[in-house]
Symmetry: C2
Subunit: 335 residues, 2 copies
């Protein structure tokens, strides 16, 4: 009887706690999940993408030294990716059906539970900065379109012409999507394809005080219309952070991530179900999302510095950096 009780206690303890690694991960990022394989990425592009991911990791790492908050690391890492044409965020964001690039972003502070998000902005240079400004300087969590731009201008954020975000590669992708759409006219209907949803960026950071933060930034889906909002600016779907469990940022077919509340579901499985955050992240991507027919992945960093980067697509641009500065960057599934 006493033995049974002790066994139960041990089982519960092993299911709910996770050990602090010797050199914990303090920042994990993604640059999108999708049809990413050695066959589709040119060797020189691969070198450049790996360099951009490492630059984002080092920028985020530097930003949370000297006792700075995890939020600083998230914003610093995401800004580097927003400035890189390789990712579907900021410069290099995908085109909406009307030929503009429209950005969504969100951020959440695991310490306070505060959050900010914006959707459909055309002129804000760094959407992740706008998400943070909404969180810190407005009474709201989420702002949309022209109203969000008005707030960004009032906040003194950098405003640029939409054309700054345009790249030839993304314009060709829009043309392909629209051609495919015309071909399908009159048939069972147009369904977005996996390659239209590649490249959202995100970061989760853990600061010296043990606080977590998570953020996500995207240009959304190629050829999106009707002011479509994906999961990236939705707290609980694209982004979630809670110091009691973990921080999460999502990438993939956003409609599935909204319906499944993917980021909050990972938190909830750990919070209520006794799983580790790593187990929860793996289960939500490889069971819940996959069984629903959705594609994509998440990055997860827990309060002990344990990291998970599950995805069910061919590849996911991803990487992490440890407290001591060790960098790991991966693109393909087999890495």
């Amino acid at each position: 009887m006493r033995f049974l009780f002790l066994t139960l206690c041990l089982l519960m303890a092993s299911a709910t706690s996770s050990a602090q690694p010797a050199d914990p991960v303090i920042l994990v990022i993604h640059g999108g999940a999708g049809t990413i394989s050695r066959a589709t990425v040119a060797p020189e592009t691969e070198v450049s993408i790996r360099a951009a991911l490492e630059e984002a990791l080092r920028a985020g790492h530097a930003a949370i030294q000297d006792g700075n908050p995890a939020l600083d690391g998230v914003v610093a890492a995401i800004q580097v990716m927003e400035d890189s044409p390789h990712f579907n965020a900021g410069i290099g964001g995908v085109f909406a059906a009307d030929g503009t690039v429209r950005h969504d972003a969100s951020i959440m502070d695991g310490a306070s539970g505060m959050a900010g998000a914006s959707t459909g902005t055309l002129h804000v240079r760094h959407p992740i900065q706008l998400a943070r400004a909404v969180m810190e300087n407005s009474v709201h969590v989420m702002l949309a379109e022209e109203g969000a731009e008005e707030f960004a201008i009032q906040q003194g954020l950098e405003i640029v012409p939409n054309s700054l975000f345009h790249t030839d590669r993304r314009r060709r992708a829009l043309e392909s999507a629209q051609e495919r759409e015309r071909e399908l006219q009159g048939s069972a209907g147009y369904i977005p394809e996996q390659w239209q949803m590649t490249g959202t960026v995100g970061a989760v950071a853990l600061d010296n005080a043990g606080h977590l933060a998570a953020g996500t930034s995207t240009g959304g889906m190629t050829n999106k219309r009707w002011g479509r909002i994906g999961d990236s600016p939705i707290i609980g779907a694209g982004t979630f952070a809670n110091d009691a469990t973990c921080g999460v940022s999502s990438t993939g077919h956003g409609e599935f991530f909204i319906r499944l509340a993917v980021a909050h579901d990972i938190h909830a499985r750990a919070m209520y179900g006794g799983e580790t955050c790593t187990q929860a992240a793996e289960a939500v991507i490889h069971e819940t999302l996959t069984e629903a027919g959705g594609t994509g992945g998440v990055i997860m960093l827990d309060h002990d510095g344990n990291v998970a980067m599950p995805f069910n697509t061919e590849g996911m641009y991803r990487g992490f950096i440890t407290q001591s500065g060790q960098v790991v960057v991966k693109l393909y599934a087999e890495e």
Copy 2:
């Protein structure tokens, strides 16, 4: 040992399942939570509000007879409240800072996990119909502003001038909010007050096939600006439904409901934590939301027809109808 095992099994069974009531509730609605008390509601208004709630319940009840889906009940009940000037949805929606009434709505089908939502529409007569059209006739979950209106027009939904939604009472509320804002100029800053967030409507239905659906519709927050999006159109915050657990619709200070992912959190506590949905709904409102400093409430209906309507405000317009047509309507906390 065998006795212990049986006891454990019984405890687990009682914690995770709930019995089917003899006359199960098949539809529950709310018309908003807030500063609702006998002191603030005039007697003749009270009669009219109770009648409107009963009308919504009977319309929803009628809509899910003859094997019709729970979604029909949700839409029918919410449409009645969108047409009533007593609630902050459709006609009688609150004014945004720019003097327009801007609607948000969402709906979710607990059987399929599909969902639809729209935010910031000015001209759609019944925003809940738009949410359903997004779910059923687009590849997206959430559409915003002009894009959402374009989709609504393509879908042939009823389009009306924004002035149709205007009421004198709500215009006076906007004037009061803006006066208060001017008074506070230069002080610690303007914080929305509880009365600015009253009146969102919602419904959860259970059909003969045992499927759940939930929906929410609102004019948002009086004097909202910058394209503010509250919790009502956010799947997981304002609305969630899953046949395995329950359906939920929220009302209250939306920013808290987004950050806490209130509707999904209730589902998750039942799904992973072994609570009944009633226990989960009570805990999320009276513990999680209240401890975070947020105000509001939810309606919850589980797959067995058990209902909960917890709130932490003075009152909440609410009611339910059973399979046999028994109606219960309540406004105040002490009822």
